[in-house]
Protein backbone atom coordinates (compact mmCIF):
# COMPACT_ATOMS: atom_id res chain seq x y z
CA UNK A 1 0.00 0.00 0.00
CA UNK A 2 1.26 3.45 -0.86
CA UNK A 3 1.61 5.96 1.90
CA UNK A 4 -1.56 8.00 2.39
CA UNK A 5 -0.64 11.63 1.69
CA UNK A 6 -2.42 14.19 3.82
CA UNK A 7 -4.83 16.73 2.34
CA UNK A 8 -3.06 19.44 4.31
CA UNK A 9 0.60 18.88 5.10
CA UNK A 10 2.82 21.20 7.08
CA UNK A 11 6.46 20.25 6.81
CA UNK A 12 9.10 21.78 9.11
CA UNK A 13 7.26 25.09 9.30
CA UNK A 14 8.95 27.93 11.16
CA UNK A 15 7.72 31.45 11.65
CA UNK A 16 9.12 34.42 13.50
CA UNK A 17 7.63 37.73 14.53
CA UNK A 18 10.84 39.72 14.83
CA UNK A 19 12.83 37.99 17.58
CA UNK A 20 10.00 35.78 18.84
CA UNK A 21 9.45 32.46 17.18
CA UNK A 22 5.72 31.98 16.69
CA UNK A 23 5.89 28.53 15.10
CA UNK A 24 8.65 26.05 15.88
CA UNK A 25 9.29 23.22 13.45
CA UNK A 26 5.65 22.32 12.90
CA UNK A 27 5.02 18.98 11.19
CA UNK A 28 1.40 18.11 10.75
CA UNK A 29 -0.47 16.03 8.21
CA UNK A 30 -4.23 16.19 8.05
CA UNK A 31 -6.03 13.45 6.15
CA UNK A 32 -9.13 13.99 4.04
CA UNK A 33 -12.19 13.83 6.26
CA UNK A 34 -10.19 14.19 9.44
CA UNK A 35 -11.18 16.58 12.21
CA UNK A 36 -8.14 17.98 13.99
CA UNK A 37 -8.67 20.11 17.06
CA UNK A 38 -5.80 22.37 18.09
CA UNK A 39 -5.73 23.41 21.72
CA UNK A 40 -3.23 25.13 23.93
CA UNK A 41 -2.69 28.18 26.09
CA UNK A 42 -2.97 31.73 24.73
CA UNK A 43 0.02 32.73 22.66
CA UNK A 44 0.94 29.13 21.91
CA UNK A 45 0.72 29.78 18.17
CA UNK A 46 -2.43 27.82 17.46
CA UNK A 47 -4.24 30.67 15.69
CA UNK A 48 -1.10 31.49 13.75
CA UNK A 49 -0.85 27.86 12.69
CA UNK A 50 -4.46 27.92 11.50
CA UNK A 51 -3.94 31.14 9.56
CA UNK A 52 -0.81 29.91 7.79
CA UNK A 53 -2.82 27.15 6.11
CA UNK A 54 -4.59 29.67 3.84
CA UNK A 55 -1.64 32.02 3.95
CA UNK A 56 -3.29 34.83 5.88
CA UNK A 57 0.03 34.52 7.71
CA UNK A 58 3.20 33.85 5.77
CA UNK A 59 5.84 31.46 7.01
CA UNK A 60 9.62 31.90 7.05
CA UNK A 61 10.72 28.30 6.61
CA UNK A 62 9.25 24.97 5.63
CA UNK A 63 6.45 24.08 3.25
CA UNK A 64 2.69 23.80 3.40
CA UNK A 65 0.87 21.79 0.75
CA UNK A 66 -2.82 21.44 0.05
CA UNK A 67 -3.73 18.29 -1.82
CA UNK A 68 -0.09 17.97 -2.86
CA UNK A 69 0.13 21.55 -4.20
CA UNK A 70 2.39 23.97 -2.35
CA UNK A 71 0.76 27.24 -1.28
CA UNK A 72 1.39 29.82 -4.00
CA UNK A 73 2.73 33.29 -3.27
CA UNK A 74 0.43 36.32 -3.60
CA UNK A 75 -1.66 36.60 -6.73
CA UNK A 76 -4.40 34.81 -8.63
CA UNK A 77 -3.10 31.33 -7.78
CA UNK A 78 -3.26 32.09 -4.07
CA UNK A 79 -6.78 33.49 -4.43
CA UNK A 80 -7.81 30.29 -6.23
CA UNK A 81 -6.36 28.19 -3.44
CA UNK A 82 -8.10 30.21 -0.77
CA UNK A 83 -11.42 29.62 -2.51
CA UNK A 84 -10.94 25.93 -1.68
CA UNK A 85 -10.12 26.57 1.97
CA UNK A 86 -12.98 27.74 4.13
CA UNK A 87 -12.15 30.05 7.02
CA UNK A 88 -14.24 30.92 10.05
CA UNK A 89 -12.96 33.71 12.27
CA UNK A 90 -13.33 34.44 15.95
CA UNK A 91 -14.91 37.82 15.15
CA UNK A 92 -17.16 36.43 12.35
CA UNK A 93 -16.07 39.12 9.87
CA UNK A 94 -19.31 39.09 7.91
CA UNK A 95 -19.33 41.79 5.22
CA UNK A 96 -21.03 44.59 7.13
CA UNK A 97 -22.49 46.32 4.07
CA UNK A 98 -24.09 43.19 2.63
CA UNK A 99 -27.19 41.26 3.67
CA UNK A 100 -26.87 37.77 5.05
CA UNK A 101 -27.86 36.33 1.68
CA UNK A 102 -25.37 38.54 -0.16
CA UNK A 103 -22.64 37.50 2.26
CA UNK A 104 -23.18 33.89 1.24
CA UNK A 105 -23.62 34.51 -2.50
CA UNK A 106 -20.79 37.01 -3.03
CA UNK A 107 -18.01 34.41 -3.26
CA UNK A 108 -19.91 31.93 -5.47
CA UNK A 109 -20.92 34.73 -7.87
CA UNK A 110 -17.69 36.74 -8.01
CA UNK A 111 -15.13 33.99 -7.49
CA UNK A 112 -16.80 30.83 -8.80
CA UNK A 113 -18.75 32.60 -11.53
CA UNK A 114 -22.13 31.13 -10.56
CA UNK A 115 -25.19 32.96 -11.81
CA UNK A 116 -27.20 34.85 -9.22
CA UNK A 117 -30.22 32.55 -9.14
CA UNK A 118 -28.14 29.41 -8.65
CA UNK A 119 -26.00 31.10 -5.99
CA UNK A 120 -29.07 32.29 -4.08
CA UNK A 121 -30.72 28.88 -4.21
CA UNK A 122 -27.61 27.27 -2.82
CA UNK A 123 -27.17 30.03 -0.23
CA UNK A 124 -30.72 29.59 1.06
CA UNK A 125 -30.14 25.85 1.41
CA UNK A 126 -26.98 26.49 3.39
CA UNK A 127 -28.63 29.14 5.57
CA UNK A 128 -31.39 26.65 6.25
CA UNK A 129 -28.83 24.02 7.13
CA UNK A 130 -27.19 26.28 9.74
CA UNK A 131 -30.59 27.40 11.01
CA UNK A 132 -30.67 31.08 9.99
CA UNK A 133 -32.84 30.86 6.86
CA UNK A 134 -35.29 33.35 8.35
CA UNK A 135 -32.66 36.09 8.49
CA UNK A 136 -31.51 36.04 4.86
CA UNK A 137 -32.51 39.63 4.11
CA UNK A 138 -31.08 41.14 7.31
CA UNK A 139 -27.73 42.82 7.77
CA UNK A 140 -25.10 41.21 9.99
CA UNK A 141 -25.43 43.87 12.70
CA UNK A 142 -29.07 42.85 13.19
CA UNK A 143 -28.07 39.29 14.13
CA UNK A 144 -26.80 37.80 17.39
CA UNK A 145 -23.21 36.60 17.57
CA UNK A 146 -24.23 32.99 17.30
CA UNK A 147 -26.35 33.69 14.24
CA UNK A 148 -23.56 35.71 12.64
CA UNK A 149 -21.10 32.90 13.18
CA UNK A 150 -23.46 30.39 11.62
CA UNK A 151 -23.84 32.69 8.61
CA UNK A 152 -20.05 32.85 8.44
CA UNK A 153 -19.94 29.05 8.33
CA UNK A 154 -22.54 29.06 5.54
CA UNK A 155 -20.48 31.66 3.66
CA UNK A 156 -17.43 29.41 3.82
CA UNK A 157 -19.42 26.30 2.86
CA UNK A 158 -20.88 28.07 -0.17
CA UNK A 159 -17.45 27.84 -1.80
CA UNK A 160 -17.49 24.01 -1.53
CA UNK A 161 -14.19 24.02 0.36
CA UNK A 162 -11.93 21.00 0.58
CA UNK A 163 -11.05 21.89 4.14
CA UNK A 164 -12.52 24.22 6.73
CA UNK A 165 -10.40 26.21 9.16
CA UNK A 166 -11.98 27.45 12.39
CA UNK A 167 -9.99 30.05 14.32
CA UNK A 168 -11.54 30.10 17.80
CA UNK A 169 -15.07 30.22 16.35
CA UNK A 170 -16.83 30.40 19.73
CA UNK A 171 -14.44 32.57 21.73
CA UNK A 172 -16.40 35.77 21.10
CA UNK A 173 -19.78 34.25 21.89
CA UNK A 174 -22.05 34.23 24.92
CA UNK A 175 -22.21 30.80 26.54
CA UNK A 176 -25.73 30.09 25.34
CA UNK A 177 -24.77 30.83 21.75
CA UNK A 178 -21.73 28.59 21.81
CA UNK A 179 -23.87 25.46 21.61
CA UNK A 180 -25.73 26.50 18.46
CA UNK A 181 -22.43 27.07 16.66
CA UNK A 182 -20.83 23.89 17.97
CA UNK A 183 -23.90 21.90 16.90
CA UNK A 184 -23.40 23.09 13.33
CA UNK A 185 -19.71 22.18 13.51
CA UNK A 186 -20.42 18.71 14.92
CA UNK A 187 -22.87 18.19 12.07
CA UNK A 188 -20.19 19.17 9.55
CA UNK A 189 -17.69 16.83 11.14
CA UNK A 190 -20.17 13.95 10.96
CA UNK A 191 -20.72 14.62 7.26
CA UNK A 192 -17.04 14.05 6.64
CA UNK A 193 -15.75 17.62 6.24
CA UNK A 194 -12.01 17.98 6.75
CA UNK A 195 -11.65 20.42 9.62
CA UNK A 196 -8.92 22.18 11.53
CA UNK A 197 -10.44 23.71 14.65
CA UNK A 198 -8.59 25.99 17.04
CA UNK A 199 -10.71 26.13 20.17
CA UNK A 200 -10.95 26.21 23.92
CA UNK A 201 -14.05 24.01 23.83
CA UNK A 202 -12.82 20.77 25.36
CA UNK A 203 -16.26 19.21 25.03
CA UNK A 204 -16.18 19.71 21.27
CA UNK A 205 -12.69 18.24 21.11
CA UNK A 206 -13.88 15.14 22.95
CA UNK A 207 -16.99 14.56 20.85
CA UNK A 208 -15.99 15.65 17.36
CA UNK A 209 -12.21 15.39 17.04
CA UNK A 210 -10.37 12.53 15.42
CA UNK A 211 -7.14 13.92 16.79
CA UNK A 212 -6.13 16.54 19.32
CA UNK A 213 -3.02 18.61 18.72
CA UNK A 214 -1.70 20.32 21.81
CA UNK A 215 0.53 23.35 21.27
CA UNK A 216 2.64 25.39 23.65
CA UNK A 217 5.20 28.11 22.95
CA UNK A 218 4.85 27.73 19.18
CA UNK A 219 5.54 24.01 19.07
CA UNK A 220 3.36 20.92 18.85
CA UNK A 221 3.90 19.28 22.22
CA UNK A 222 1.55 16.36 21.95
CA UNK A 223 -0.76 14.72 19.42
CA UNK A 224 -3.23 12.05 20.38
CA UNK A 225 -6.74 10.70 20.00
CA UNK A 226 -9.06 12.82 22.17
CA UNK A 227 -9.89 10.10 24.68
CA UNK A 228 -6.25 9.30 25.26
CA UNK A 229 -5.26 12.97 25.41
CA UNK A 230 -7.89 13.97 27.94
CA UNK A 231 -7.61 10.91 30.18
CA UNK A 232 -3.94 10.17 29.95
CA UNK A 233 -1.81 12.98 28.49
CA UNK A 234 1.79 11.93 28.03
CA UNK A 235 3.56 15.27 28.54
CA UNK A 236 3.81 17.33 31.71
CA UNK A 237 2.96 20.48 29.76
CA UNK A 238 -0.34 18.99 28.62
CA UNK A 239 -1.09 17.64 32.12
CA UNK A 240 -0.48 21.07 33.57
CA UNK A 241 -2.74 22.72 30.93
CA UNK A 242 -5.55 20.21 31.36
CA UNK A 243 -5.28 20.48 35.12
CA UNK A 244 -6.00 24.19 34.81
CA UNK A 245 -8.80 24.08 32.24
CA UNK A 246 -10.67 20.99 33.41
CA UNK A 247 -10.75 21.54 37.17
CA UNK A 248 -14.06 23.42 37.11
Amino acid sequence: MTEQLGLVVLDHVNKWYGQTQALKDINLSIARGEVVVVIGPSGSGKSTLCRTINRLETINEGTITLDGRPLPAEGKALAALRADVGMVFQSFNLFAHKTVLENVTLGPIKVRGLDKAAAEKKARELLDRVGVAGHAEKYPAQLSGGQQQRVAIARALAMDPEVMLFDEPTSALDPEMIKEVLDVMVGLAKQGMTMVVVTHEMGFARTAADRVVFMADGAIVEEAAPEQFFTNPSTDRAKDFLGKVLQH
Binding site: N54, L56, E74, G75, K76, A79, A80, L81, R82, A83, D84, V85, G86, M87, F89, S91, N93, L94, F95, A96, H97, L106, G107, K110, V111, R112, A152, R155, A156, M159
Partner: protein, 233 residues
Protein backbone atom coordinates in the same frame (compact mmCIF):
# COMPACT_ATOMS: atom_id res chain seq x y z
CA UNK B 1 -17.27 104.06 -11.87
CA UNK B 2 -18.05 100.69 -10.34
CA UNK B 3 -15.20 98.42 -11.44
CA UNK B 4 -16.99 95.12 -10.69
CA UNK B 5 -20.25 96.12 -12.34
CA UNK B 6 -18.55 97.56 -15.40
CA UNK B 7 -16.46 94.42 -15.88
CA UNK B 8 -18.92 91.76 -14.74
CA UNK B 9 -18.45 89.79 -17.94
CA UNK B 10 -14.70 89.54 -17.39
CA UNK B 11 -15.24 88.52 -13.77
CA UNK B 12 -17.63 85.78 -14.83
CA UNK B 13 -15.29 84.50 -17.55
CA UNK B 14 -12.39 84.45 -15.13
CA UNK B 15 -14.38 82.40 -12.65
CA UNK B 16 -15.39 80.17 -15.54
CA UNK B 17 -11.73 79.40 -16.12
CA UNK B 18 -11.26 78.75 -12.39
CA UNK B 19 -14.15 76.27 -12.52
CA UNK B 20 -12.69 74.60 -15.61
CA UNK B 21 -9.28 74.20 -14.01
CA UNK B 22 -10.81 72.90 -10.76
CA UNK B 23 -13.06 70.37 -12.48
CA UNK B 24 -10.30 69.00 -14.72
CA UNK B 25 -7.74 68.93 -11.90
CA UNK B 26 -10.35 67.30 -9.66
CA UNK B 27 -10.86 64.48 -12.14
CA UNK B 28 -7.11 63.92 -12.44
CA UNK B 29 -6.69 64.06 -8.65
CA UNK B 30 -9.54 61.64 -7.90
CA UNK B 31 -8.58 59.06 -10.52
CA UNK B 32 -4.86 59.16 -9.75
CA UNK B 33 -5.48 59.50 -6.01
CA UNK B 34 -7.68 56.39 -5.86
CA UNK B 35 -5.12 54.42 -7.87
CA UNK B 36 -2.34 55.56 -5.55
CA UNK B 37 -4.50 54.80 -2.52
CA UNK B 38 -5.05 51.26 -3.80
CA UNK B 39 -1.32 50.88 -4.49
CA UNK B 40 -0.60 52.10 -0.98
CA UNK B 41 -2.36 49.06 0.53
CA UNK B 42 -1.45 46.56 -2.21
CA UNK B 43 0.24 43.25 -1.41
CA UNK B 44 3.03 44.16 -3.86
CA UNK B 45 5.85 45.92 -1.97
CA UNK B 46 6.99 47.83 -5.08
CA UNK B 47 3.48 49.25 -5.52
CA UNK B 48 3.35 50.39 -1.91
CA UNK B 49 6.79 51.98 -2.23
CA UNK B 50 5.93 53.83 -5.45
CA UNK B 51 2.77 55.31 -3.92
CA UNK B 52 4.55 56.23 -0.69
CA UNK B 53 7.37 57.97 -2.53
CA UNK B 54 4.90 59.83 -4.75
CA UNK B 55 2.98 61.12 -1.74
CA UNK B 56 6.11 62.10 0.09
CA UNK B 57 7.63 63.96 -2.86
CA UNK B 58 4.52 65.69 -4.14
CA UNK B 59 2.89 66.57 -0.85
CA UNK B 60 6.10 68.14 0.43
CA UNK B 61 6.63 70.36 -2.61
CA UNK B 62 4.91 73.77 -2.84
CA UNK B 63 2.17 73.82 -5.45
CA UNK B 64 3.57 76.90 -7.15
CA UNK B 65 6.87 75.10 -7.57
CA UNK B 66 5.13 72.14 -9.23
CA UNK B 67 3.30 74.51 -11.56
CA UNK B 68 6.55 76.24 -12.43
CA UNK B 69 8.17 72.88 -13.09
CA UNK B 70 5.44 71.73 -15.47
CA UNK B 71 5.23 75.10 -17.22
CA UNK B 72 8.94 75.66 -17.69
CA UNK B 73 10.43 72.19 -18.00
CA UNK B 74 7.97 70.67 -20.47
CA UNK B 75 9.14 73.08 -23.20
CA UNK B 76 12.72 72.04 -22.44
CA UNK B 77 11.67 68.42 -22.90
CA UNK B 78 10.39 69.28 -26.34
CA UNK B 79 6.74 70.11 -25.70
CA UNK B 80 6.38 73.51 -27.31
CA UNK B 81 4.32 76.17 -25.53
CA UNK B 82 2.11 76.56 -28.57
CA UNK B 83 0.70 73.09 -27.94
CA UNK B 84 -2.85 73.24 -26.65
CA UNK B 85 -6.04 71.27 -26.72
CA UNK B 86 -8.22 74.09 -28.03
CA UNK B 87 -8.17 72.74 -31.58
CA UNK B 88 -9.19 69.27 -30.40
CA UNK B 89 -12.27 70.55 -28.69
CA UNK B 90 -12.97 73.27 -31.21
CA UNK B 91 -12.41 76.05 -28.68
CA UNK B 92 -11.60 79.52 -29.97
CA UNK B 93 -8.19 80.47 -28.61
CA UNK B 94 -9.58 83.88 -27.65
CA UNK B 95 -12.23 82.27 -25.46
CA UNK B 96 -11.34 83.36 -21.97
CA UNK B 97 -13.73 81.07 -20.11
CA UNK B 98 -12.95 77.74 -21.75
CA UNK B 99 -9.37 77.83 -22.75
CA UNK B 100 -7.03 74.90 -22.84
CA UNK B 101 -3.88 76.73 -23.82
CA UNK B 102 -0.46 75.51 -22.77
CA UNK B 103 -0.38 77.46 -19.49
CA UNK B 104 -3.83 76.33 -18.42
CA UNK B 105 -2.91 72.71 -19.20
CA UNK B 106 0.33 72.90 -17.23
CA UNK B 107 -1.33 74.54 -14.23
CA UNK B 108 -4.26 72.11 -14.30
CA UNK B 109 -1.97 69.09 -14.60
CA UNK B 110 0.20 70.33 -11.74
CA UNK B 111 -2.84 70.99 -9.55
CA UNK B 112 -4.22 67.52 -10.32
CA UNK B 113 -0.92 65.77 -9.63
CA UNK B 114 -0.45 67.73 -6.41
CA UNK B 115 -3.97 67.10 -5.12
CA UNK B 116 -3.75 63.38 -5.99
CA UNK B 117 -1.27 62.96 -3.13
CA UNK B 118 -3.86 64.29 -0.68
CA UNK B 119 -6.64 62.19 -2.22
CA UNK B 120 -4.41 59.14 -1.85
CA UNK B 121 -3.97 59.79 1.85
CA UNK B 122 -7.71 60.39 2.36
CA UNK B 123 -8.46 57.10 0.57
CA UNK B 124 -5.81 55.28 2.56
CA UNK B 125 -7.15 56.54 5.88
CA UNK B 126 -10.65 55.48 4.80
CA UNK B 127 -9.41 52.01 3.91
CA UNK B 128 -7.57 51.77 7.22
CA UNK B 129 -10.77 52.65 9.09
CA UNK B 130 -12.30 49.35 7.93
CA UNK B 131 -11.44 46.44 10.25
CA UNK B 132 -8.75 44.19 8.74
CA UNK B 133 -11.06 41.20 9.27
CA UNK B 134 -13.28 42.39 6.41
CA UNK B 135 -10.40 42.11 3.94
CA UNK B 136 -9.24 38.82 5.48
CA UNK B 137 -12.72 37.35 5.09
CA UNK B 138 -12.84 38.51 1.47
CA UNK B 139 -9.44 37.01 0.72
CA UNK B 140 -10.46 33.80 2.48
CA UNK B 141 -13.29 33.17 0.04
CA UNK B 142 -10.85 33.52 -2.82
CA UNK B 143 -11.19 37.15 -3.83
CA UNK B 144 -8.23 38.77 -5.50
CA UNK B 145 -6.77 41.99 -4.11
CA UNK B 146 -8.76 44.02 -6.64
CA UNK B 147 -12.04 42.28 -5.82
CA UNK B 148 -11.43 42.63 -2.09
CA UNK B 149 -10.91 46.36 -2.50
CA UNK B 150 -13.72 46.94 -4.97
CA UNK B 151 -16.43 44.71 -3.50
CA UNK B 152 -15.74 44.74 0.23
CA UNK B 153 -13.37 47.44 1.46
CA UNK B 154 -14.03 50.51 -0.69
CA UNK B 155 -17.85 50.38 -0.45
CA UNK B 156 -17.46 50.50 3.33
CA UNK B 157 -14.60 53.02 3.26
CA UNK B 158 -16.62 55.31 0.97
CA UNK B 159 -18.49 56.89 3.89
CA UNK B 160 -15.33 57.59 5.83
CA UNK B 161 -13.62 59.03 2.77
CA UNK B 162 -16.23 61.60 1.74
CA UNK B 163 -15.59 64.28 4.44
CA UNK B 164 -11.79 64.42 3.96
CA UNK B 165 -12.22 64.25 0.17
CA UNK B 166 -14.64 67.18 0.33
CA UNK B 167 -12.02 69.17 2.23
CA UNK B 168 -9.38 68.17 -0.29
CA UNK B 169 -11.56 69.31 -3.21
CA UNK B 170 -12.28 72.61 -1.47
CA UNK B 171 -8.59 73.20 -0.84
CA UNK B 172 -7.87 72.31 -4.46
CA UNK B 173 -10.39 74.81 -5.80
CA UNK B 174 -8.87 77.59 -3.75
CA UNK B 175 -5.37 76.39 -4.64
CA UNK B 176 -6.23 76.88 -8.31
CA UNK B 177 -5.59 80.58 -7.63
CA UNK B 178 -1.89 79.77 -7.51
CA UNK B 179 -2.08 79.31 -11.30
CA UNK B 180 -1.96 83.07 -11.62
CA UNK B 181 1.75 82.64 -10.93
CA UNK B 182 2.29 80.89 -14.27
CA UNK B 183 0.24 83.29 -16.35
CA UNK B 184 -3.23 81.78 -16.22
CA UNK B 185 -6.00 84.34 -16.50
CA UNK B 186 -8.25 82.85 -13.85
CA UNK B 187 -10.35 84.61 -11.21
CA UNK B 188 -7.37 85.64 -9.13
CA UNK B 189 -5.67 87.10 -12.20
CA UNK B 190 -8.80 89.09 -12.99
CA UNK B 191 -8.97 90.32 -9.41
CA UNK B 192 -5.43 91.62 -9.56
CA UNK B 193 -6.10 93.24 -12.90
CA UNK B 194 -9.17 95.08 -11.60
CA UNK B 195 -7.28 96.14 -8.51
CA UNK B 196 -4.45 97.52 -10.59
CA UNK B 197 -6.87 99.52 -12.70
CA UNK B 198 -9.11 100.67 -9.84
CA UNK B 199 -6.96 101.40 -6.81
CA UNK B 200 -9.83 103.22 -5.12
CA UNK B 201 -12.10 100.14 -5.03
CA UNK B 202 -9.84 97.36 -3.85
CA UNK B 203 -12.06 96.42 -0.91
CA UNK B 204 -15.16 95.92 -3.07
CA UNK B 205 -13.08 93.95 -5.57
CA UNK B 206 -11.54 91.71 -2.91
CA UNK B 207 -14.93 91.03 -1.36
CA UNK B 208 -16.49 90.27 -4.74
CA UNK B 209 -13.87 87.66 -5.55
CA UNK B 210 -13.95 86.20 -2.05
CA UNK B 211 -17.70 85.72 -2.46
CA UNK B 212 -17.11 84.14 -5.86
CA UNK B 213 -14.71 81.56 -4.42
CA UNK B 214 -17.09 81.00 -1.51
CA UNK B 215 -19.93 80.16 -3.88
CA UNK B 216 -17.76 77.55 -5.59
CA UNK B 217 -16.77 76.08 -2.24
CA UNK B 218 -20.38 76.01 -1.04
CA UNK B 219 -21.27 74.00 -4.13
CA UNK B 220 -18.55 71.45 -3.36
CA UNK B 221 -19.63 71.23 0.29
CA UNK B 222 -23.22 70.72 -0.80
CA UNK B 223 -22.23 67.85 -3.09
CA UNK B 224 -20.13 66.40 -0.26
CA UNK B 225 -23.02 66.56 2.23
CA UNK B 226 -25.37 65.04 -0.31
CA UNK B 227 -23.03 62.11 -0.95
CA UNK B 228 -22.50 61.70 2.78
CA UNK B 229 -26.24 61.53 3.44
CA UNK B 230 -26.74 59.11 0.56
CA UNK B 231 -23.95 56.89 1.92
CA UNK B 232 -25.49 56.91 5.40
CA UNK B 233 -28.87 55.79 4.11
Amino acid sequence: MDAVRDNWRDVLYAFGLTVEISVLAGVIALVLGFLLGALRVSPVPVGRAVAAVYVRLVRNTPLLLIMLITTFTLPVLGLRPDINLNDWFGIDSHNRMLNLNFFVLCATGALGLYTAAFVCEAVRSGINSIPIGQAEAARSIGMTFGQTLRLVVLPQAYRAVIPPLTSTMIAMTKNSSVAVGVGVTDATFQMRKLNNDNGDQILQIFVTFAIGYMILVFLISAVGSLLERRAAA
